[in-house]
Symmetry: C2
Subunit: 304 residues, 2 copies
């Protein structure tokens, strides 16, 4: 750690999850947006994690972060328990109910960046309150490309702060139901246009198993999800998508439309692996060759 | 009519529809699967329509068929009223409720082909009972490529006959909920594999606004829908898709994987126009240049 300069900073939540699907129930799964996002990004670029864990955070999970090569200088350890979440997926493996949320140390989290992170050119503001997202924005000196994720909670509870963050980032990334809620439009083309009018140059609408859509002044890019035959746990798919995208962006270091599209292809590929197991189970066995093979396969599925 | 040899035969229903969307209600709209499918196919290849209308069928609608250049030798006129359907779309413009169905002359329809149609190399079995689909199959001499569409009604009510038809066609085309019902699988990759094990070399799963997926032994092709900003009436989207696909196949006259993919791109393009108006409102103003421009635009949205 510290030997390689961090090119991508990712801020968000770290949690210990209990997840129930129609097929299986798993306790104490390493989760939270930045566990997925940093792991996914780590395949592409030196990534720094900004988050908080409690004193109960298992050493094996910290070692897992290191296994991915994630820089942990920005990882805070606070007195108390780590954030915990539990939820149950319906039969469609898409809709889920939250059974419990215990914020614990996450309730008092302030994402202060180590000095070595403030020069990072790429920043991913994972799904935390827009006030904390803005606090991170205020610390980074001259980022080249900033992406913000968000969720329904902030859209309904912190809209003014969220709108301010949105106006300051290059790209907003959110799912179809969230963008409908944010913009008050139903049609996704209209939703995307409405987001662009709020400030960002890019919007990515994530559609789960149906892929994602990028809209910018360069036009529209429609990206499919890689069709997998067994979804084990959809938790973290969107975070893995965002992390792999930003890792690939940091690696490519280009805002050319063709490069942005290729980075989204990497994102879709890594996200498809993530849902084939619980937590980071599948990602921890991934390597560049496996990712490349599936990415090329996905590209062939899109070719006309 | 009759001067140009029919290369594609399409059989299915003709109806007069009353359609209600959240925005508008329209009475006496020309509908039924083959109105959409033949109109869409007519942009590509000489198409013969096999269906039945009643004595009340408006002359202007017959003229509209001729405007598209559809061959009407296979169109039967029977004593009685034309098939009528009415339905109402929910706010999502996807789910709909049928308010009434009056089969009228369609109840006694037997799709007998004119002699001039029996040599046609391309056949689209639109959504009618599998018994009638098989009756058409028994009349065509040596078709090069046959596609069958179907729906939930036949899956639940006429499964043995449907399975027989499926085993005799080259491609089954159906939507996601139907293929799940047919195969008993939820995951669409597994659904597609199950269909291929029933006989066809190809299966196309239509996913509405999310596009479609082709699966064959050549692999998977994922096709997006063209993102339009105002869906006026989704009725007939799937039929327009199927018709344009088969018209383009008849024109290309090639089963090479790349050509099949390109024909699906045409299908997605024409279907996107169809839903921008009621009935054939938009399609009747289309020409090759407009289709080509949108098709190229869609291809750019898919490019990596």
């Amino acid at each position: 750690m510290g030997d390689t300069k961090v090119e991508l900073v990712i801020v968000g939540s770290i949690g210990i999850d209990t997840i129930e699907t129609p097929f299986e129930r798993r306790e104490d799964v390493l989760g939270g947006s930045i566990s997925y996002a940093c792991a996914a990004a780590s395949f592409y670029a030196p990534t720094g994690m900004v988050g908080v864990v409690g004193t109960d955070f298992p050493e094996e999970y910290r070692e897992l972060y290191s296994h991915f090569g994630i820089d942990l200088e920005g990882l805070q350890a606070a007195e108390g328990k780590t954030f915990r979440w539990s939820g149950v997926y319906e039969d469609d493996m898409i809709n889920r109910r939250t059974l419990s949320t215990d914020l614990n140390v996450f309730a008092d989290f302030t994402p202060d960046l180590p000095d070595s992170y403030t020069d990072a050119p790429y920043v991913l503001l994972g799904n935390i309150s827009p006030e904390l997202q803005e606090h991170v924005l205020d610390q980074v000196k001259s980022p080249r490309f900033v992406v913000a994720d968000t969720m329904d909670l902030w859209i309904s509870m912190s809209r003014p702060a969220l709108e301010k963050v949105i106006s300051r980032v290059n790209m907003l990334m959110l799912n179809d139901s969230e963008v409908r809620m944010l913009t008050g439009e139903y049609n996704l083309v209209k939703c995307a246009d409405a987001v662009l009018s709020m400030g960002p140059e890019y919007v990515v609408v994530k559609k789960g198993e149906h892929g994602a859509m990028l809209v910018s002044r360069e036009g529209v890019f429609i990206l499919p999800a890689f069709p997998i035959d067994l979804v084990v746990d959809p938790t973290g798919a969107g975070d893995s998508f965002a992390g792999a995208f930003m890792g690939a962006m940091a690696k490519a270091d280009s805002l050319a439309d063709a490069d942005v599209r290729r980075c989204l292809l990497e994102a879709s590929t890594v996200a498809s692996f993530a849902v084939e197991g619980f937590g980071l189970d599948i990602m921890k066995g991934l390597d560049a060759a496996k990712i490349e093979a599936r990415r090329d396969s996905l590209a062939r599925m899109m070719a006309v």
